[in-house]
């Protein structure tokens, strides 16, 4: 009896300690960036970064907010691609999943494999890049940021697996009543799919919000940079810093470089970190739905 309690206690101590350390490691970089962004540039120059601002200052935020045009543009681009992409992508994902779920559809397995095959084999970056550029003329087009991320075979199949739990009798009976397939989908199935729509929608939205890769490939026009790509340019490119900070007239030397980078990082993480506690449950749901089968 005593032995059982002891091993349970030992395990619990280990579990608490390990989990606490892991969780701390996961948040420390966030705290560090936040602290750094509120530290004065001089303090960073002499002491380096810390976990708490040694000399408190909002100089870096002032630098990026005096003329926030470029920042607002990047936010605008990111919002635009996230909203349109998520709405359109989610609708198409759901509609495609609905078709694959309907047993009446003769070619459902063939099409399911047609989609799935793209996860097994692909043409590689060069072919994709050349086709997008040369045949679809996607250079500097916002469509290059939206369209290629609309559909993913995984999400279609996860959505279909979710729909498979809906009894066939529901669409069948609506059919008998004379509803068209499209009506059955929009009126009957979409409302039933709400949990799956929420979780897959979150995944799609996060994909758009965090995307910088499409921009790196296709966007040269600074007015069309999404937020993440602008941040990347800023961190790696000192000339871009003054553009992003909006201080086009001021010589770059006078800008607080180091802390401005951190302030920009904070500004571009902000929205995601603020919403994530609320949306996390949808992600977890999406994970469990997804794990049911592959």
């Amino acid at each position: 009896m005593k032995a059982i309690r002891l091993d349970k206690l030992a395990l619990n101590i280990v579990a608490y300690a390990v989990i606490a350390i892991v969780a701390l490691l996961c948040v420390i970089p966030f705290i560090m960036v936040l602290a750094g962004s509120f530290t004065s540039e001089n303090a960073v120059m002499t002491n380096g970064y810390g976990l708490w601002p040694s000399v408190f200052s909002v100089e870096s935020y002032r630098a990026i907010l005096t003329d926030p045009t470029s920042l607002l543009k990047a936010y605008g681009v990111t919002l635009l691609i996230t909203i349109t992409g998520t709405v359109a992508g989610l609708f198409l994902t759901a509609m495609t999943a609905y078709v694959l779920y309907r047993k009446e559809f003769r070619y459902r397995n063939k099409f399911a494999f047609f989609f799935y095959f793209t996860t097994l084999f692909n043409g590689g970056l060069v072919a994709y890049y050349l086709i997008m550029l040369k045949y679809y003329h996607m250079k500097d087009s916002l469509l290059a940021l939206i369209v290629p991320l609309l559909l993913s075979p995984y999400y279609i199949l996860i959505m279909r697996n979710f729909l498979n739990a809906v009894p066939d009798a529901i669409p069948e009976s609506a059919k008998v009543d004379g509803a068209s397939e499209f009506t059955i989908f929009t009126r009957l199935c979409l409302p039933l799919m709400k949990p799956a729509l929420a979780s897959i929608g979150m995944f799609i939205a996060l994909g758009y919000w965090n995307d910088w890769y499409q921009a790196a490939l296709f966007i040269d026009d600074q007015n069309k940079f999404p937020l993440q790509y602008m941040l990347y340019k800023m961190i790696t490119n000192i000339e871009f810093l003054s553009y992003a900070a909006g201080n086009n007239g001021i010589p770059t030397v006078e800008l607080p470089h180091e802390t401005v980078k951190l302030a920009m990082t904070v500004v571009s993480i902000g929205p995601v970190v603020l919403v994530y506690p609320f949306v996390q449950k949808y992600f977890v749901k999406g994970l469990t739905v997804g794990a049911v089968k592959g």
Partner: protein
């Protein structure tokens, strides 16, 4: 004749479905299948004015140059070994954390720490790159600030290629720990409670319960997750490598993977022949590994296979 009428009949009968699935079909043709056909660019002497399909064939010359240049072996080796390291450490750590999470007696602590661990999953690699800069920057980075405060020599990670395998493995795990452990925790929580109750009656201790009940029961989930990653063992996480390493020539030997090589060759040097050959080899290798691995799994347990 009869067959033709049959096909037409079925097409008409399935018309609403076909119409509804049409956008997705077009999408995959345009963005997946046409690029698959575009893989032939690897066998061509690409000229921009003539396009992929109009350029002249030049056999396997592109491949010959790629292999003769000597870089290919190193980038393939890096891609493969980094991925193996990610899969092994990732799986062990995520399963370990999931087991520990399930053992926490406080529900609040479990929820709260899951939230914190999930945080890195939500941010882009660009932001992780900014964190990295913040930690390891030679002059101001936190790591060096701490080292200096302790009276030690600061480290410059950008001139120490040897450190990168640990750095990349660390950050990969950091990013995925929440996602993976929550997924495995879900699998653990769906294990039938009665098994644990029966084990209690038989006098099993917690470790016996973990090794005899918990772990064996999540094996199918682990297999699927590992399988999905093994299939991509020749495809690197471009975002991570590119954002953390950047364009630093000193580090290429230690950190270059196929994806960064192809991206660089394409976007900076405009080297279409070399990069298309490398991308083609990568696609074929990926397809082969997926087929082989899936075939092996099918042989042992059909329901765990991908297809």
């Amino acid at each position: 004749m009869v067959r033709k009428r049959n096909l037409l009949f079925y097409l008409v009968q399935n018309r609403p479905f076909l119409l509804m699935i049409l956008p997705a079909v077009l999408f995959f043709i345009l963005f997946s299948y046409l690029p698959m056909a575009g893989i032939i660019v690897a066998f061509k002497n690409f000229r921009f004015d003539r396009g992929i399909f109009g350029s002249d064939w030049n056999g396997i010359n592109n491949f010959r140059f790629l292999f003769l240049s000597g870089q290919i072996w190193n980038i393939f080796k890096n891609t493969f070994f980094y991925n193996v390291a990610f899969i092994v450490t990732g799986t062990v750590i995520q399963v370990g954390v999931a087991v520990l999470l399930s053992e926490l007696s406080s529900k609040f602590m479990s929820r709260f720490s899951q939230s914190l661990m999930f945080l890195p999953y939500f941010i882009s690699w660009v932001i992780v790159g900014a964190f990295f800069y913040n930690l390891f920057n030679f002059d101001y980075g936190l790591v060096n600030a701490v080292l200096k405060a302790l009276g030690l020599d600061p480290v410059d990670v950008y001139s120490s290629p040897g450190m990168w395998k640990y750095i990349l493995v660390f950050f990969n795990n950091w990013k995925w720990i929440g996602y993976g452990s929550v997924l495995y925790l879900g699998a653990i929580l769906s294990i039938d409670e009665e098994m644990y109750e029966a084990a209690d009656i038989d006098g099993a201790n917690v470790f016996q319960k973990i090794f005899r009940i918990t772990l064996p029961n999540i094996v199918p989930t682990v297999i699927i997750m590992v399988l999905l990653q093994v299939g991509n063992v020749f495809r690197g996480d471009f975002g991570m490598f590119y954002q953390l390493v950047g364009n630093n020539g000193n580090l290429y030997d230690a950190t270059d993977i196929i994806d960064t090589y192809v991206f660089r060759a394409l976007s900076q040097m405009g080297d279409i022949p070399m990069s298309s050959a490398a991308a083609c080899v990568q696609s074929v290798m990926c397809f082969l590994t997926i087929s082989v691995v899936n075939g092996i799994v099918r042989k042992f347990s059909k329901e765990n296979a991908l297809y």
